[in-house]
């Protein structure tokens, strides 16, 4: 009986964890990325590993460098945060959680100038990539991923 319970309790806990796992707090990674073509590309940052192939395919660059980032753990789904580089700022305002993900309002600033504004429903299983302005020989990309 004792041995059975010792096996049973972790098993039940595991199942309870799987069941309740969908409602745990989640972290959104927001990054400002400069995509470039260089002779010796650096390794892709770990946050972008998952979508490295897609980035290369869509944008045609071989190097992706993070110039600004933010990691925000969402508890209420109503938080807001800022990912900044020296000249750019991405303001993210979460406006609620749905079954599929979070409704986000995004604003890209160049210093104090608003360049781009968009609303998106960010899915837990699907990253969002926004093509920003051309910067030198490269391209500014905004990437949002639920980790």
């Amino acid at each position: 009986m004792g041995r059975s319970l010792a096996f049973l309790i972790p098993f039940v806990s595991l199942i309870a964890g799987v069941v309740s796992g969908g409602q745990a707090a989640e972290t959104v990674w927001s990054g400002l990325v400069i995509a470039e073509n260089v002779a010796q590309p650096q390794a892709v940052p770990p946050e972008l590993t998952r979508i490295e192939g897609s980035l290369k395919k869509f944008f045609g660059y071989n190097q992706f460098q993070v110039i600004g980032q933010s990691q925000k753990t969402l508890k209420t789904g109503q938080e807001d945060w800022l990912a900044t580089s020296k000249f750019f700022g991405l303001h993210v305002d979460a406006q609620g959680e749905s079954k599929a993900g979070y409704v986000l309002s995004l604003k890209l600033y160049k210093e104090k100038e608003l360049l781009l504004e968009t609303d998106a429903k960010l899915s837990k299983r699907s990253p969002l990539v926004i093509k920003g302005p051309q910067v030198g020989s490269g391209q500014l990309l905004l990437v949002l991923v639920i980790q």
Binding site: G68, F87, S123
Partner: protein, 172 residues
């Protein structure tokens, strides 16, 4: 009106009296033989009473008898209960295991089967761009378009014509 047999039985038991007795004895064909039979019957009755009567119990025996009966009654009830318990298949460990197994099957079915059974609903698991706009003053010729790549599960907001910036803006 009593039958002869009823009167005969009553006479043997000495229940007849008065006029009934004299009338019955007058009707007997052989009174001497009847008297002999009556005497035999009484002897037989006395013998049966003395030999077959229930033996009287002494106080001690009566107490022992009562005690034995009570012990038998009390010991027979729990044994029935024990038999009942032993015979059921639903012991507590088995109940626990059955419950856990049912829960596991439910979770597997819910998490894996139902979710994968609805590919039509997959689009709701892709990020959706609800709207997008650029500042027409800063970038008057800019356009936006959006597309979803279901294979990679990536949603892209594609802008064209945004103001180009010098390489210095790539600084961290």
């Amino acid at each position: 009106m009593k039958t002869f047999e009823e009167n005969w039985t009553a006479w043997l038991d000495g229940q007849l009296s008065g006029r009934e007795l004299s009338e019955f004895e007058a009707s007997l064909p052989d009174k001497a033989a009847a008297e002999a039979e009556k005497a035999d019957t009484r002897k037989l009755g006395a013998l049966l009473k003395s030999e077959l009567g229930a033996p009287a119990l002494t106080n001690e025996e009566f107490f022992s008898h009562q005690l034995r009966e009570r012990i038998m009654r009390e010991s027979s009830v729990p044994s029935v209960k024990r038999e009942g318990k032993a015979s059921t298949w639903w012991t507590i460990p088995r109940l626990l295991w059955t419950g856990t197994a049912s829960l596991a099957v439910f979770v597997i079915f819910t998490v894996f089967v139902i979710r994968d059974k609805n590919p039509a609903e997959e689009s709701q698991y892709l990020t959706q761009i609800l709207n997008a706009r650029v500042d027409p003053v800063v970038s008057p010729n800019a356009t936006v378009s959006m597309f979803e790549v279901k294979q990679d599960r990536v949603t892209v907001l594609w802008t064209e014509g945004l103001q180009s910036l010098p390489a210095d803006y790539a600084a961290k």
